[in-house]
């Protein structure tokens, strides 16, 4: 089930835990280079879907292809071709900036030479040259988020999953972070992002909104606002999730 246009293809995905259906027949696809927002209320089933797409959990049923690989039989290949970043866990606090880069580079099988070259250009781009040997716990949250994102795409994955990446930073730092997301998308990396900031949903090319395990709406932010007669994505979300 591959398709040159779509980098993620999900057909009839069902995931049940006992009698509870967390994902109830989800069908959607994500285009190459797209910034796709995956939204939903707490407990709507987003994390379940992301775990399946990242090859960390098996679906109960359904057909899924991620980065051109089958989610049942080629999970290790899926993992090599994706990056993942979340607000809660990304970098090791007690390792330095460079040690974190080297660690993740090593995990993704980059050679020492490649790691050195990529970390050098990465630190230049972020303006971190003087912080190479600083512990992660000693750098500001905004820096951590930018570094975590850069590390998540260090191995040039086809897709990067961002699970609530930007909480807690000031609005300027948040925009610098989105500049990096746009840049990655322009380089052809597909971005799959979840967020509780509905204003961030406005930055996505397309968004889906999950309610009780189902996709209740999926379109561009502009079209969704039109469809629901709402001035912002926040209002679209509230209309849908409140029912």
């Amino acid at each position: 089930m591959t398709d040159p246009e779509n980098i993620i293809i999900v057909k009839d995905l069902v995931k049940s835990f006992g009698s509870f259906t967390a994902n109830d027949h989800l069908t959607f696809s994500v285009r190459r280079g797209e910034i796709f927002g995956f939204l939903g209320a707490n407990g709507a089933g987003k994390t379940t879907t992301i775990k399946i797409l990242c090859g960390l959990s098996y679906p109960t049923s359904g057909e899924l292809s991620v980065a051109g690989f089958d989610i049942y039989t080629q999970r290790e290949k899926v993992k090599r071709n994706i990056g993942y970043m979340s607000q809660r866990f990304s970098l090791y606090d007690d390792l330095t900036v460079f040690e974190n880069i080297r660690f993740y580079g090593g995990i993704y099988g980059l050679s020492r030479k490649e790691i050195d070259a990529r970390s050098k250009s990465l630190m230049e781009r972020l303006g971190f040259e003087n912080s190479r040997n600083k512990l992660i716990r000693d750098i500001p949250l905004g820096w951590k988020q930018k570094l975590a994102f850069s590390v998540a795409i260090l191995h040039n994955p086809k897709i990067v999953f961002l699970d609530e990446p930007t909480g807690g930073v000031d609005p300027i730092t948040r925009r610098q972070f989105w500049d990096m997301i746009y840049e990655a998308a322009h380089r052809g990396i597909t971005v799959f992002v979840t967020t509780h900031y509905m204003d961030e949903a406005e930055y996505c090319d397309r968004v889906s909104i999950m309610v009780d395990g189902r996709i209740a709406a999926m379109d561009t932010p502009d079209n969704l606002k039109l469809q629901f007669g709402a001035p912002s994505m926040n209002d679209v979300f509230i209309k849908l999730a409140r029912g």
Binding site: P140, L141, G167, D170, H196, Y197, E202
Partner: protein, 303 residues
């Protein structure tokens, strides 16, 4: 002038090298819903911990309902409700057990003050036998608020109560706060969500241990010193890069699929449109707009 509930004068707090609060001063009126808006590291949590008598100030004076945070800490603890930023209830106790526990340590009963929490608690009562650790984000938040209210406090300190919860739960939470305000409770609430500023009577915009401005949400917007336009064109990524090079431009920030472009004085819309067309931008839309809180916050940050 309303009577003052919280009085903070020249408060400073350091943690070794870091200045967490840098000489801040503000007063909150009785019955006011007062918001502290700012990112992580602004000093919101340190401030709340000092006002709830869990941390000592280095310098300055702080009083809550006339009681000094150092000398009269016991009285302050009895009259305030506190919801810390991190979920602070006992995860391995049930919903009901948590509520009873908090009532008991304040020497009261759930029954005695049930009226105050009724609206909120009823929403989680169907789950009263569930362990607190197993609740969803929105339900945890409602339980924490119920526990903070169970001794009928005069004043509430809510540290980022809506962080990490979805937009619907956030809306419901602010509806609850409005009702508590109507019941006469003074509320100090902090949030990183700029859009929540408009729900407060007054807001303090905070950054790096300082208060950048204190006023009503309406005044914040009225005091925005720049002329602002919303610009839309095909490719937002390229548009942002190019607008930053437009002669005379003061700032350019992305807001979803449009850019907010600010000038120090009036700008000529037609000139800007022509300039963008010459750069091959199709279907350019330029609209004069009023600033929102986020525009104001970013301008204050860089001023």
């Amino acid at each position: 002038m309303h009577p003052v509930s919280v009085r903070v004068d020249n408060l400073t707090k350091r943690f070794s090298e870091t200045v967490a609060l840098d000489d801040i001063t503000f007063h909150v009126g009785k019955g006011e819903l007062f918001g502290f808006i700012g990112p992580d590291g602004a000093g919101k949590t340190t401030l709340f911990r000092i006002l709830t008598t869990l941390l000592l100030p280095d310098r300055g004076t702080c009083t809550v309902e006339g009681c000094d945070v150092v000398k009269d800490y016991k009285r302050i603890r009895n009259m305030s409700g506190y919801m810390p930023g991190r979920f602070s209830l006992y995860q391995d106790l049930t919903v009901e057990e948590n509520l009873n526990f908090f009532a008991t340590i304040f020497g009261t009963t759930v029954h005695e003050n049930y009226d105050l929490i009724k609206d909120i608690y009823q929403q989680i009562e169907p789950f009263k036998d569930r362990k607190a650790g197993k609740l969803s984000g929105g339900m945890k938040q409602k339980l924490a608020l119920s526990c903070a209210l169970i001794h009928k406090p005069e004043i509430l300190f809510l540290d980022e109560p809506t962080t990490g919860v979805d937009a619907v739960s956030r809306l419901e939470f602010w509806e609850m706060l409005k009702r508590l305000k109507e019941a006469g409770i003074t509320i100090l609430v902090s949030t990183p969500y700029m859009d929540e500023a408009s729900l407060c009577d007054r807001v303090a915009l905070m950054q790096n241990g300082r208060i950048m401005s204190i006023s009503t949400p309406l005044e914040v917007i009225r005091n925005y010193p720049l002329t602002l336009y919303s610009v839309k064109a095909g490719d937002i990524y390229q548009l942002l890069g190019e607008l930053r090079n437009y002669p005379g431009v003061h700032s350019v920030y992305a807001f979803g699929q449009s850019a907010h472009v600010a000038f120090k004085g009036p700008a000529n819309q037609a000139d800007l449109a022509a300039w963008l067309k010459a750069k091959n931008h199709q279907s350019v839309e330029i609209t004069p707009i009023e600033a929102n809180i986020e525009d104001c916050f970013m301008e204050l940050m860089t001023a």
